[in-house]
Each structure stands twice: as C-alpha cells, then as structure tokens.
C-alpha cells in the first residue's frame, strides 16, 4: 500500500466500527480507483466529512440507530460534493483537525465506545446476553486461514447493525486499541471477506436446496437410502413446518396496507442508462441470506406469508381454503423487530436455524395479527416422480468435498438450473425445480452430481428444450406425472389486520 492509500486507510479506520466493517474495504478500493479521476485531496476531505457524519450519528449513542429507518429524512446526513477545483490546504487542514479533534474527544468522553469501534460486534462471542468470552475462546482459529488474520475473522459476516453493540471488559482494551491503530491491509480484509463469503456460501448452498448446515466443513447431506422420499431428510422445503414448542414472537410489529407505487418510466434499450440484462431467477426461489439485522421488513401478500411461514413455496397449491381476498392483489407492509435477547440468541444459530426461527415468529405473527386458524390434512394430489430414463442416467459425479449449490442461471443462450454437488433428493425438493411442486425421487441414485440443465422457461428462451426433454437428454432422467398423498395446509379463518 502506498503512502496516499495508507493515509486514506487511516481515515477510514476513524469511522465507527459498524460503518467501517460494512463499507471500509469498499471505500479503500474505490479510493484506489478514483484517485486519478477525482483527485486525492478531495477524496481525503470527503472521507473526513464522512467520519464526522458517522460519528455524529452513532458515536455518542446507539439510540439513534433504533429509530425506525422509514422515519428518517433523506436530507439528514447531507452530502459532500467534490468540485473540480480541489481543496485548499487550509480547508484540508481544518477538516483534519475537526475529525481528529472529534475522534480524540470521543476517546476521552466515551473511551469504551471508541474501543468498541475496533471490535467485532457481529461475533456471537460479543453478544449482550453472554458478555465477553475469554480471549482464547474468542480467537481460537477454526482453520489456518483464519489464524493469519486475527480476531476480526471470527465474525460471521462483515455486516453489523445497531443491535450488535455489546459491553466489553476493560482488560481487552489494550489489545483492541493496538488492533485499532493498525489499519488492515486490503489483502487482509479481502481475505476476511472471502472467508465470510465462503462460510455464507456453504450455508446458503444447501438452503437453496431446502436446508442449511452448520460449520465450515462442506455441508454434504447424509445420503438417503435408495428411493427415499422427503422423509429420508431433515426438514426441507416442501415439508410443512410444525411448531413443537410455544411460538417465539417478534418484539414490535407494524402492519400497513401497501399501495403499489407507480413504476418509473422505462428507459429505451438503446438509450444510455437502459437497464442491463440481469440473471433470471425464479421469483419464488430467492436464497435466504444470513441474518444481518434485528429488523424484518417485507411487503407481501398474506397468502405468500402463510406459505413462507409454514415452509412452503410462495405459490404452493398446498395452501388451501380461506377467504377470496387472500387471492387478490392485496399486500401488506410488515415491519417487525426481533427482541434483543432473541437476536443475540439467533446470532449463534446456523442460517437454517435462523430461517426456522423467523418462520416460527411469522407463524406467531399470523396468529396474533391476522387471526389465522388452520389445520393440516393429507390429500391426494397430482405430483411427479423422477425416474431414470431409458438408456440410463447421464450424470457427472461431483468432486469429493465440493460445496452443494443449486441455482438458476441465465446467459446469452437462455437459462436453466445449475447444480454443484447436488443430490437428486435435494433437486426434487428444491423450489427451484418445478416451482416447488411435489416431486418424489424414485431414481435410486444417491450420489452428489454436477449438472447444467438448460431448458426453456415460461418465456420460451429461444430454441432451448422444455424441462421434460432437457431432463431426459441432458441427465438421462424423466418426470412422470403421478398422484400421491400430500400434507396440505387448510386455512379455517384469517382476517385483515388492524393497521398500526
């Protein structure tokens, strides 16, 4: 890192920890790219102003962060424009003195808060409920890569939020302060993010196929016996979530009828600013993300919320009954807050456990605010079986230790489904496959496979074959329509909520 970049990194390090952890690396990377186009001094000034603003917002108290985001005024925080003329030495010096003075003041007035800024609040080990864990417990590396980076790598995500600040014991101040004064090199921070991403990807991968596994090892699912259906697995998408204990609840919930805003006028494709093509993704198959915030916000039809809360695909036909307005285009904007204690507990959960916890809280919300009453039935429904086609399977076994991943893809030739180290049970139970319709794996194949299944979507996708043909030609498998007993959710009563 050269001298100018080091100075910029120091300024970035002066930001509050939550901001620095979330955006610090990006700021430094942007600085490297923008120093020629924007000039070094204006970028220094811009970063110093940002230090001032961020500490102004979060340095004295975290209460401000608890204000509902929607209540904030977008002029707040203002902005700094970098003019073409650059800055005078006086202006730069004034900014530096202001920022350093502010920082020093904070150290004196709220020393502990400054120490917090260098800490890892996102780590479960710093959760408010548990207090501070012994140094050895916190910093014990899980693998070699972690040990090269130090304490920060223990955080599961580079995001942090207002509810993640916690108390810290004084004896750790010196270590944290020494950590604070040395800006991380970009290579270190990139490595941190790569580890975080690797961990997240490992968790997300199975969730895309319906479940998440804990730990950093490749989350291979234990292989099911031949011909095993959904019962051969832990809970997966498509298996209705039944509460086995009193439902957990959100702490604060706001529900309002949502009015669809007018869409902005589209920009013609040949004009500058026209939207670029983006990956086609099944709208009902968004992958869950790691829990980053204690606030859950969604604009959602009640029918979809019910399906989601009970672990069914959004458009599942296994949600039946209820009044006609459930099928109308009525959506509610729901803002819910997870209590501090629950949020701290959820930081220790795997992604799959967090997802289940959220679903249970959604079930509680549906019962409390929407008066939802329902029961479950076994009904004979149309379904599909996946079988080996004539000629045998055409499957590529996955490499040992690969991370399971199932995702939609799109390219210039169309789109389809890409699987890495995916079992056929995972494939058939994923909402990405057949939109969440019930499919039973009767292939008797239990391995993990890599595949790139290219088929035409609803829009046609040019010359690509349909899913049934593609399965047969590209994977040597076939889908056979069948009927079977399936658990469905029957809505007995549901009401429009009172808004608040």
């Amino acid at each position: 890192m050269n001298f100018k970049a080091r100075i910029y990194a120091l300024i970035v390090e002066m930001h509050p920890a939550s901001f620095r952890h979330e955006f610090g690396l990006e700021m430094r990377l942007d600085f490297e790219e923008a120093r020629k186009s924007h000039g070094v001094m204006p970028l220094y000034w811009d970063a110093l102003l940002s230090v001032f603003r961020q500490w102004g917002q979060t340095g004295v108290t975290s209460e401000r962060e608890r204000v509902p985001a929607a209540a904030r005024f977008l002029m707040e925080g203002r902005y700094g424009a970098i003019g073409g003329g650059g800055l005078s030495a006086f202006e730069f010096g004034r900014g530096t003195v202001l920022a350093v003075g502010l920082f020093g003041g904070l150290v004196l007035v709220q020393g502990r808060a400054v120490v917090h800024s260098s800490n890892d609040f996102a780590s479960p080990n710093y959760s408010a409920s548990d207090g501070f864990q012994p140094e050895t417990a916190r910093h014990t590396p899980a693998n070699g890569a972690r040990s090269q980076i130090g304490p920060r790598t223990s955080r599961p995500s580079y995001h942090s939020g207002p509810f993640q600040q916690a108390e810290m014991m004084p004896e750790d101040s010196a270590a944290m302060r020494s950590h604070f004064v040395r800006p991380l090199r970009i290579s270190e921070t990139v490595a941190m993010r790569e580890i975080a991403r690797t961990e997240a990807a490992q968790r997300v991968a199975l969730v895309a196929a319906g479940e998440a596994s804990a730990g950093t090892a490749a989350p291979r699912e234990p292989e099911a016996p031949a011909g095993a259906g959904p019962s051969g697995h832990a809970r997966v998408a498509g298996q209705i979530l039944h509460a086995t204990a009193p439902l957990p609840s959100f702490e604060v919930v706001s529900i309002r009828l949502w009015h669809r805003p007018p869409a902005p006028p589209p920009v013609p494709a040949d004009q500058p600013g026209a939207p670029k093509p983006v990956m086609k993704v099944d709208p009902g198959s968004g992958r869950p993300h790691a829990l980053k915030s204690a606030r859950w916000h969604s604009i959602i039809p009640v029918q979809v919320l019910i399906a989601t809360a009970y672990n069914l695909p959004p458009d599942s036909k296994r949600v039946t009954g209820g009044p006609g307005w459930l099928r109308e285009d009525i959506q509610y904007e729901i803002t819910a807050t997870i209590g501090d204690e629950m949020f701290a507990a959820m930081q220790k959960m795997t992604l799959g456990e967090q997802q289940t916890q959220m679903q249970l809280m959604q079930q509680s919300l549906l019962a409390d605010r929407f008066g939802l009453k329902l029961h479950f039935e076994q009904r004979e429904m149309p379904m599909f079986t996946l079988e080996v086609a004539k000629g045998g399977p055409k499957l590529t076994p996955a490499a040992e230790g690969g991370t399971t991943r199932l995702e939609n893809f799109a390219d210039e030739r169309g789109g389809g489904l890409k699987g890495t180290a995916v079992t056929l049970d995972q494939l058939t139970q994923s909402p990405l496959f057949l939109g969440g319709r019930v499919v039973e794996n009767r292939t008797g194949l239990n391995g993990n496979y890599d595949f790139m299944l290219r088929f035409a979507g609803e829009s046609g996708d040019g010359d690509a074959p349909g899913l049934y043909t593609a399965l047969q030609d590209q994977m040597g498998l076939r889908l056979v329509p069948a009927k079977g007993m399936v658990e469905v959710l029957v809505i007995d009563a549901v009401e429009k909520p009172s808004e608040n």
Binding site: F23, G77, V190, P261
Partner: protein
Amino acid sequence: MKDFDKLLPLSPATLHVLLALTGGDLHGYGIMLEVARQSGGQYKIGPGTLYDNLKKLLGLGLVEELPAEGEERRRYRLSTTGAAVLAAETERLADVVKLARLGLGLHDRGTDEVTS
C-alpha cells in the same frame, strides 16, 4: 406517492446515487463514475459520501445489495421502492422547475424547440 413525502426532498447525493442505479446494478466506484457522467462532470461524490448515503438507502430499503457471486466488489441495485421514491422526487422537481420557469418568465423548453 404520499407515503414517500416524508422521504422528500432527496439530497443531491441521494438523488444522484438512486439515479445512477437506474442504469443497472453497479458497485461503488461504478456509482461514482455514473454520477459524474450523468452530471457532465459537474457533480462528483467520493466514497465517504457514497457509503454514507448507501448505508442510509440500504436501511430504508431503497437500494438492495446483490448476493455475492464470487466477485470482489459489492454491487447494489435500485429496489422497487427506491424507484418509486425517485419517481416521486422527479415529479416534485418537475413542479419546482415549472414554477421557477413561470416565476422567472422563462420559455418552456419544449415550446422553444418548436418555435425556434
């Protein structure tokens, strides 16, 4: 539209960040370049201003971060709500411009193009 009133007016930086994202998904430096391009180089923002605003916009749900796909840089997308807020701000600014033209006795640009 009325729900967005409390978010308006947008600061120039917020307006330009949202506007930059109407062109597609961008990472931070891409937004900085797009802001400079859209303003003809008259208005530039640095990373500090950019991420101050992105933090706020992410919190409000006006901008979404795209899932990491092995790329080093984080990329951002205008959300539906963000587009609606930007549309509301555009309407508000159009009214301001109209009033300013009326007050200053300026010709309407569209009329100029027809008559001149």
